[in-house]
Point group: C2
């Protein structure tokens, strides 16, 4: 592990590290915010999964979440959105390849050599963080857009590993929208059965997980109608009789200005679960 | 005036506009955050001047100031840091030319054709903002690094136009440090007498202005010893018998993580003056 950045921030420290990932078979960067409370002992962690084209930088620069993490005594962990580096497959378009890992374990060539973001986020990164920092195994997970999809899927499939989950503007039904269909066809192949394990709406239908779901969605989001379709998750939750707190936010778009406006409420939501 | 961006943010709106500037003789962009309170009537404004290499974007993306502006009912106005566009002079180096206007009215060729950021910030931009938006003439001013220098100089020279001033990591004595000497030599010529009107430490020595000064400075700032030297302002204030609230912040560097950590206190400081 090598420290690339360290900045004092709200009494704690915003750090960026690089390390060799076994799951992804490449060098990876991740960001971690350690709140001032780590001086008194280990703290729980909120994992944040970013959206298409992002790196570990976007959330830490734009969301303003450190203020709330410092207030509640929670670490923030933000990985990159795909494997990186020489030898890692890429393709034309911002929505496939680098910056677009979709938090799956790819089974198809050429992607299967490195694109195992599901294993990286679920297992490898928490083990690393909990081994190297004053961070406990009390975990929460959230994310934006493609990362909102990742957070929902990972929490639904691993309810024992997370205390709470939330999402901003998530791709709730990737099997039914262009971004998801393109990525899943490339990463997972043409058999749609294999897609279900990475589709939050399908997982809800199957009764996976039991964590309460909090989703914020801007009504002026430019991707709402074509790519996000929160009503598909809503219908699945209603049919499965499980609670969903879907908050449609008038006027808000897909940007980090939306995330910044409500991340404080999400951190508070996760803090309540992490400290219960 | 043309609107380039508009994002809902903390119940208000973060906007970016372009307009033709007479002072700078070019097209300019500026950012304005309008808090939710504008729906009830005009609000006072905090003007923010950014540092070297920045545009109107850095502050609005990284500082997290909108939360506090929404809380106190204050508009935030963030101009670019130099004239821009075809025909505007530039030179090698990040510390001269584009992105490095130093908030002066240049008198030397080739800079004098466009580099009149002092007039732009003091007169043209407030007139535009107060004419086009629900913003009053109650003004405060702040900034970072080169922009901290700009805020101090502009407030010291125009105490009737501003209710309050603050700065993060300002270049307090540009005439005595490499960044300032290089810029002033280019923009103002070799006569150091002409530099005094743009040097906060010199202005304090001359008894200019009467606003209380609030300055936050990180002790781990990589530019502290060579370029910022707050002790020069401190000595001048002591000699002139004027109050300076210089807060040295242990561990903080020159980045926006520092600004984000304390911008809430600065907005509160300005709100108290703007609403007095």
């Amino acid at each position: 592990m090598q420290q690339l950045e360290s900045h004092a921030c709200f009494g704690g420290t915003q750090q960026v590290w690089s390390h060799r990932s076994d799951a992804l078979d490449c060098e990876m960067k991740f960001a971690i915010y350690l709140p001032p409370q780590v001086q008194q002992g280990a703290v729980p962690a909120l994992y944040w999964l970013s959206g298409l084209t992002c790196t570990e930088q976007n959330f830490i620069i734009k969301a303003g979440a450190q203020r709330y993490a410092a207030e509640y005594g929670i670490a923030l962990v933000a990985p990159d959105t795909s494997p990186r580096g020489a030898g890692v497959a890429d393709a034309e378009g911002y929505d496939i390849g680098l910056g677009a890992g979709f938090y799956v374990n790819a089974t198809q060539a050429p992607w299967s050599a490195h694109y195992r973001m599901y294993d990286y986020v679920v297992d490898e990164l928490p083990a690393l963080v909990e081994g190297e920092f004053a961070v406990t195994s009390a975990r929460a997970i959230s994310g934006h857009s493609m990362g909102g999809h990742g957070a929902l899927v990972i929490a639904l499939r691993n309810p024992d590993r997370y205390r709470s989950v939330s999402a901003f503007s998530p791709i709730v039904a990737p099997s039914q929208v262009p971004w998801g269909e393109k990525a899943f066809r490339q990463y997972l192949g043409n058999d749609r059965e294999a897609w279900k394990a990475y589709d939050a709406t399908e997982l809800v239908r199957d009764g996976s997980g039991d964590l309460p779901l909090l989703v914020d969605q801007g009504e002026a989001d430019e991707f709402l109608a074509l790519q996000l379709k929160p009503q598909l998750l809503q219908s699945a939750c209603e049919a499965a009789g499980r609670p969903l707190n879907l908050r449609m936010q008038p006027g808000y778009d897909h940007s980090y200005y939306f995330i910044a406006s409500f991340i404080g409420e999400h951190v508070a939501h996760h803090a309540a679960a992490l400290k219960a």
